[in-house]
């Protein structure tokens, strides 16, 4: 697991009532018993940790799909990081 993935799993664990040590990129978020407000908190902490902004909408089924598994969260975060780095480069 790379550094980003480890950080993300740490954030997820922080917001679980009963943190587990067997979380991999395959784990479904539904199995982690994360409720909607927890998810908003998780998204906030991801944004804060990586200095990015994720336009996540709890009401949008397509967007919510990006938050189905730990792996899909990692992919989404990496994608946003890359996009904002590109933006910053364009500005510079």
């Amino acid at each position: 697991m790379d550094e980003t993935t480890v950080k993300i799993i740490d954030i997820l664990k922080k917001h679980m009532k009963e943190p587990r040590d067997d979380i991999t990129t395959e784990t479904a978020l539904a199995d982690l018993k994360i409720e909607s407000i927890d998810l908003a908190m998780i998204v906030f902490e991801l944004e804060d940790t990586f200095g990015i902004e994720i336009p996540y909408n709890a009401n949008d089924t397509e967007e919510a799909a990006a938050f189905k598994s730990v792996g899909s969260v990692v992919d989404r975060v990496k994608q946003v990081i890359a996009a904002s780095a590109q933006k910053a480069a364009a500005k510079a």
Partner: protein
């Protein structure tokens, strides 16, 4: 139930005022709802900066010097301006004297979810970013969430109970319910009630964005494609009056306030429970002494979030049984946007206008109904129908529920 009805003082509506994104008075507001006109659009009143939600129901071109009569209220926060204007419309319509001739027999209960939010934001921006040495001396008076109730009370010489309610999106409905109780109980004869909200600022939009409940492209209640709510600003005010008091002075009577129900889910801050809304609707019917079948039109809370619309539909089915299929329901938020604390007052006005006019306001943007929302939401186009009794639902974050039932002017 009959004994209860004949024994207690009856309460009627003798004045109404509205400031909304679809009209700065009741007439324009109602004409917009009938026509299915939407007041949600691209934000123009402040720079969007890095926001990714760009839409809201803004009130454009509001000028306190032009639109607010009271000089004192003009010095208040934007939320007090809206309250002042709506109260002025309602009080004028009720043809009550200024100042009120029996000052301790009137109440001013004007709530707000957030009070002078924009004043707070601007003051803190000046302090923390621009490092100004002093804030405007009126800052505190503008911020406090009771300032609108005080402004309205001062304007009309009201010396009875004067304060604000605060229960997020149920604020206005709670204010109207308390006014109803005070008149029934004989504490006052007149109550100016309602709420005002003005939180469309950059900081507030960021706070709401972080809640992940705002739609980027429109408010579509009960639709399969709904993806969140849209914030709006404005105010609604009702003048409530004891029936005989109103009759004795030949006041116009628009409707009777028949029932009020409130409850709390006592469960979760954001996820609504079906039992809370169900019980609040049931309590309001019980208070009105009406069977569910008596209600012709229900103005839904209908926020267009995934959770609310299904939960509210399920609660309606539990209360109304088979009648749920015959009941006309609409979410006028599809046109006004979500006025937050003030929504219950403008939606109460929509109920009363619907009864007066015999017209059901539509739920616009409902071209693809959600199979889980399978009732008659008066999709897209309003329609004429005789309407005798109406219900208005308000459900708030924290699980705070309040419901009102209105009937025709007593014969």
């Amino acid at each position: 139930m009959t004994d209860k009805l004949t024994a207690r003082r009856r309460v009627v509506v003798t004045g109404m005022g509205a400031v909304t994104p679809v009209g700065l008075d009741v007439e324009e507001f109602w004409a917009s709802l009938k026509a299915g006109r939407c007041g949600i659009g691209k934000i123009e009143n402040f720079p969007l900066e890095d926001l990714y939600i760009h839409i809201a129901g803004e009130i454009k071109g509001f000028n306190p010097e032009k639109h607010v009569k009271s000089r004192k209220t003009q010095y208040g926060d934007r939320y007090s301006w809206f309250a002042g204007r709506a109260a002025d419309e309602a009080w004028t319509q009720a043809r009550l004297p200024v100042p009120f001739d029996k000052p301790y027999r009137a109440a001013s209960i004007i709530g707000s979810g957030a009070g002078g939010f924009s004043t707070t934001e601007n003051a803190y921006r000046d302090l923390f970013i621009h490092h100004k040495k002093a804030t405007n001396p009126l800052t505190l008076l503008r911020i406090i969430g009771s300032s609108a109730s005080a402004h309205v009370g001062i304007e009309y010489g009201i010396k009875g109970p004067t304060f604000a309610t605060c229960s997020a999106c149920s604020t206005a409905t709670h204010a109207i319910g308390i006014g109803l109780d005070y008149i029934r109980n004989g504490l006052v004869d007149v109550a100016v009630t309602g709420a005002s909200e003005a939180v469309l600022t950059y900081g507030s939009m960021r706070v709401w964005q972080a809640m992940r409940v705002l739609s980027p492209d429109g408010l579509r209640p009960f639709s399969k494609t709904r993806n969140g709510t849209a914030l709006a600003e404005g105010a609604g005010v009702l003048v409530l009056e004891e029936l005989e008091h109103a009759r004795a002075r030949g006041a116009p009577i628009f409707a009777e306030v028949l029932g009020y129900g409130m409850s709390s889910d006592s469960k979760d801050m954001v996820n609504p429970d079906v039992e809370g809304p169900r019980s609040a609707m049931q309590f309001a019917l019980d208070d009105a002494g009406l069977a569910p079948t008596a209600i012709d039109y229900l103005n839904a809370h209908g926020t267009a979030t995934t959770l609310n619309d299904v939960n509210e539909t399920n609660a309606i089915k539990m209360v109304f049984g088979e009648h749920a299929r015959k009941l006309a329901i609409s979410s006028t938020k599809s046109m006004t946007g979500h006025l937050l604390g003030a929504c219950g007052a403008v939606e109460a006005i929509a109920c009363i206008k619907a009864m007066q006019d015999g017209f059901l306001p539509p739920t616009i943007n409902l071209t693809e109904p959600d199979p889980k929302c399978d009732l008659d939401y008066v999709p897209n186009v309003g329609r004429a129908q005789k309407i005798r009794y109406t219900m208005s639902n308000s459900f708030a974050f924290g699980g705070l529920n309040a419901v009102l039932v209105f009937g025709p002017p007593p014969a």
